[in-house]
Symmetry: none
DNA sequence: AATGAATGAGCCTTCATTCAT
DNA sequence: GATGAATGAAGGCTCATTCAT
């Protein structure tokens, strides 16, 4: 009964339970924030007992961490996939903006949660996140470096690329997520994608076909 | 609101006491966040009694709200002052970026606090903030509208201006505030100011003097 | 009850499983006490499932009771054996002290557990213990009564014999078990045995100045 | 209002509250033991709120520790007073037994509590207890050393004195406290006092046939 | 205005026990 | 017999807030 070989994928029921808890937690966190969500809130939303929560996740923080890490990885994987499907610098830069925009709209609650800053991750989780971030950033920069080398993109301080490319769309999305802006990010996607490319494209050729 | 000069001089006066409490609260909020700060933390940091805190601010939320509103007003006033000292579109746009950058670096803890999203403001405070925001945005757009009308700046959806101008610097600052970036925003100020202007400048004339 | 020899051979047999659980429980109780030991602790130490524990012992208290009763019976049987191998009053009294000392040193964890006072036994277990104690005390007093009758031992209130004979060694052992004393009880065995005999021996010979 | 000079003896009401909590805790611990006593039990018995308990003692362990330390100090002080009122070796030894007996009977619940072994003291409390014990044992041995030097008491391994003198009465008291013996320790006080003296008195006079 | 003891609702977590597989 | 996910009552503790002094 249940092979000993894999502790992290026990039986079908277990995985389903875990997923439903994460889903419930996401709903709560999005509605009232991590600190204002109680274990009981999650438990009621997930239709399970307190004990079950602790059996699977160990603590409230444990749930938050797993949800966060899962979310980040989902985003990162999607982004890298899009990137690798692009064939040149311009397409790549624009793909970043478009994906950011699309993913956020399609995963609004998760996106909102990933923006929160009030969670005290355990040292272990923090280490894990750092590693995930490192791998991601390495892959992304690995992708763009050749474009810069070939002059298709400007040479800039390393820390400037992300803010220049993603800053505007992120700022817009942030305000949209908190309800300050009504209009869906999707309707401004092209605008921000163009702006991103303009901000980082190489300076050699006349930018004729931009709009 | 309470001159900045007496932060470290807890005289017996009411105003001084209030200022020292706000200062103490800011320290706590910055260190561990609003939810993880207790009334006792603030009280100890401010060298006053619990009762005194309640006498002056009514509640924990009251402190957070006052601190937040004071901070926003301080920022807005400074920004408008800088704006009004600019003489054309380009200078204005760049002034926004520069001020955002400078103010953040000079008021790092306060800036960090203003970025937090985990405070449940009272209806009253929310209304107040909305009004402040409305006034501010009205003043800012009032300033820029003529430039757009004259073609010195692009015509864009209203919600796009702020993200395009402030998005990159804000994104950079956010990462710097949370410790992900080392380099002071000040060293990238010019870069982001130029980028902001390029993103919103009118398209008529050749952009010669760009760098 | 389960031969001592198979403690480290968790064969599939029921008896072996029971023994390994009792052994595991003893380790836990000794380390952190009954109340601070969880079923999970025992289960992990015994390499078995929670369900198995309950299948065999019914409850946490059930384990503690069985362990306690087994221990007491083991001690009592050993003591009576030693007593019956003695041929006179002096030897008998000294045998009590010696056995107490030897058994404790040889069964340190069990001895430590038998000294604990924080277990709420079931009525049934309490009755069982009372009966065991009654039988034991009857046998012991049955053994010593003739010596007292013959004047080889002092006539004392019934309750005074045990404290006078075992009190010192027990006190020493208690402190040794809790780590206050370093020196093994064995090295003081002869001293306490002599003292015990002096405390209860008949007054016929020599020792006039007793008052 | 309340002088700043002494934090540990705030105002009359505070001391009274603290005392009543300790008293309530003692009642509970004696009745059902430390682990089976809940904060609510103490709170109800002391007629105060949960918060008040924590305001004054910090934790359940904190209450237990303070009660324990207060008890030990009360006992030690009484013992040393009695000792110093004795004028020779015999009187001193017997005073130890008598005081032990009297104090236990007069402070039965406290005595019972001091015998319990199931409390996890904090490192700080443990250090405090160790120091208290060290001081006490130093004072006691300081008192008896001259008698041994003068030959009025036997020369024995240092660890043997306490068990020989106090062992029997302690053993009796322990059983009496747990309800196994009915007869008050007081009625056997003289008997155990004599036995104690016989066990440690010098060998100069008469008592030749010791082994 | 200041003080800090008192209050108690509510939180996170533990853990003995059950039971479907 | 064995397994371990599920259960939920109960526990220790926190902390914003009140109020008598």
């Amino acid at each position: 009964m249940t092979r000993r070989s894999d502790r992290s994928l026990p039986r079908a029921g277990t995985a389903a339970r875990r997923a439903s808890v994460l889903q419930a937690a996401l709903v709560c966190f999005t509605e009232v924030g991590f600190d204002n969500t109680t274990i009981q809130d999650i438990q009621r939303e997930a239709h399970c007992s307190v004990g079950s929560l602790y059996h699977h996740f160990g603590s409230k923080d444990g749930i938050a961490e797993e949800l966060f890490i899962d979310g980040i990885e989902h985003f990162n994987q999607g982004m890298l996939r899009k990137l690798k499907a692009s064939s040149n610098a311009e397409e790549s830069v624009k793909a970043v903006v478009r994906f950011y925009c699309d993913w956020t709209v399609r995963n609004r609650p998760l996106a909102s949660y990933l923006h929160s800053r009030d969670i005290d991750f355990s040292d272990q989780a923090r280490a894990r996140l750092k590693e995930i971030y490192r791998e991601y950033i390495t892959a992304v920069f690995g992708w763009f470096t050749p474009f810069v080398a070939r002059g298709e993109m400007r040479v800039l301080p390393r820390e400037a690329y992300v803010p220049l490319i993603s800053g505007p769309i992120q700022e817009y999305v942030r305000r949209w997520l908190s309800g300050h802006y009504e209009r869906s990010p999707v309707s401004l996607k092209a605008l921000f994608a163009d702006a991103a490319w303009n901000a980082v494209k190489g300076e050699s050729r006349g930018d004729t076909a931009e709009r």
